[in-house]
Symmetry: C2
Subunit: 293 residues, 2 copies
């Protein structure tokens, strides 16, 4: 089985290396050349997008967002124009599930199957091959390519038909963003009311308020540590997709919209490259305090 991977960024590059380690024959393509050379040294074959479409049994993409995936696959002289019927496209980009369905419909006309398979877990998990894949697509296609994804991740879960992977990812990102803002709001109130946020964290983390977000982000808020983790600009991208998807399917998402506005404001303050736990800075700016300090 010959595999093509388009998109060798922060995530795509280590994922490609894990495919090579697992023994797959891999063609790679990227907008800039340096990562292709690096992958060639690891045993991959640099190729044009047309060559990947012509030669590969399965084409993977790991790109910034929906427009890039659509352009690469369905744009003029796109990859899909070069793929044979019976081949498969697996998009690992986090995009709008509505776009996933549109791309799948266009590919189906050419006899090409598709899975949407966005991941959670950042660069370290991409390097370790311990990503979590949320996958949408037909059961038999999922079953065929699950071992391929398992070369890059430890959790590979089918959530439904095409689009279900990205829908699940959006649900995940909504919950994470809201849980972070709730934590920041609560810790700010505590400190403004004269209570040490560290003691609040320790007192409540074992109860119903406890969460993975609290364990990961409360210490960062208290220490004032902006190092990502997961960047505000990427979370803005995901929540824009969530709002867009929600508007399309007719679901009110008032809390998501509220968090998105706060993240957008932080972006405008120059914090786009900071960790999303810097939502706390919104409250700190408004109240003139620094959480935990």
């Amino acid at each position: 089985m010959k595999i093509g991977l388009i998109g060798l960024g922060i995530m795509g590059k280590p994922m490609a290396k894990n495919l090579l380690k697992a023994g797959y024959t891999l063609l790679v393509n990227n907008r800039s050349e340096a990562p292709m050379k690096e992958l060639a040294a690891c045993g991959a074959t640099p190729a044009t997008q047309a060559e990947i479409g012509e030669q590969c049994d399965v084409v993977l993409t790991m790109l910034p967002n929906s427009p890039q995936v659509k352009q690469v696959m369905l744009g003029e002289d796109g990859v899909a124009a070069h793929m044979r019927p019976g081949t498969t496209f697996i998009d690992m980009t986090s995009i709008n599930p509505i776009a996933s369905k549109e791309i799948a419909a266009a590919l189906a006309e050419k006899g090409i199957e598709m899975l949407d398979a966005p991941v959670s877990g950042g660069e370290p998990k991409a390097i370790d091959g311990t990503l979590s894949f949320m996958v949408g697509g037909k059961q038999e296609v999922f079953d065929r390519f699950k071992p391929l994804l398992e070369a890059m991740g430890t959790s590979v879960v089918r959530c439904g038909d095409v689009g279900a992977g990205n829908t699940t990812k959006l649900a995940n990102q909504i919950i994470v963003a809201c849980n972070i803002q709730a934590l920041a709001e609560a810790l700010t109130l505590a400190q403004k009311a004269g209570v040490d946020p560290q003691l609040v964290f320790e007192a409540i983390r074992g109860g119903l308020a406890g969460s993975t977000v609290m364990n990961a982000k409360a210490p960062m808020m208290i220490a004032g540590d902006p190092k990502p983790g997961f960047k505000i600009d990427l979370h803005i991208k995901d929540l824009n997709n969530a709002l867009d998807c929600a508007h399309t399917v007719g679901c009110p998402v008032p809390m998501t919209a509220e968090v998105q506005e706060v993240l957008q404001w932080l972006h405008n303050q120059g914090e786009g490259q900071h960790d999303h736990s810097c939502i706390a800075h919104y409250y700190e700016k408004l109240t003139g305090i620094e959480i935990g300090r």
Copy 2:
């Protein structure tokens, strides 16, 4: 040491029983007589509020909210008027921390110490004696009465000076309410986009979106189970205190305000006695779906 407990409701009654089991001498008072008779049969002494004030070394209250605590303690012929200097008041009610500070200040003028010691954990944990106490007050007063509280709970944590217990409780309630609404919003979006919320839950619970709220409440939302748990009307009470406290100390709490409006709407729909996870009904009503069904 003679102890008085005022307020033998759903929480106060089992807490009183645990004090008796631990061997304490207990005077009890309640607005209605039935719980006093029940406690008398367990070894407590029914008493008026004045008698409790006159005879007890430490007076505990477990009442509905701030106004009731103020009325019982500081109202005309209130308990405080009967207490001796050197005695202690421990309020286990969840109230506004600003009110806790006001009551403590009034008691300090009479030489009476105070702890605010609200709990988390509902009736089952009150019965089992496994409540979590969040305590505010002087360190030496806390140290003296920690064993007393440990007769009713397994976690007794000092969070700072008077008011810190209730401030911590408010932070807890803000996070719980917001996490529940975020979960409901995300699961509704998933279902409206055609994905089974149960699969979403299973796919994301192990990642950054995971929380105690998710593990406890996602199954209730999916099953449509309204049995409390923790009632919407009680959460409204707590968030009103949070908003009131926030306004007093000058902290913006937009997310808390948003959840409070949703809970208030649910109350007006007749859902006040349902579990707070019925926040999901707001989304279900707006979208015409039932999560998971």
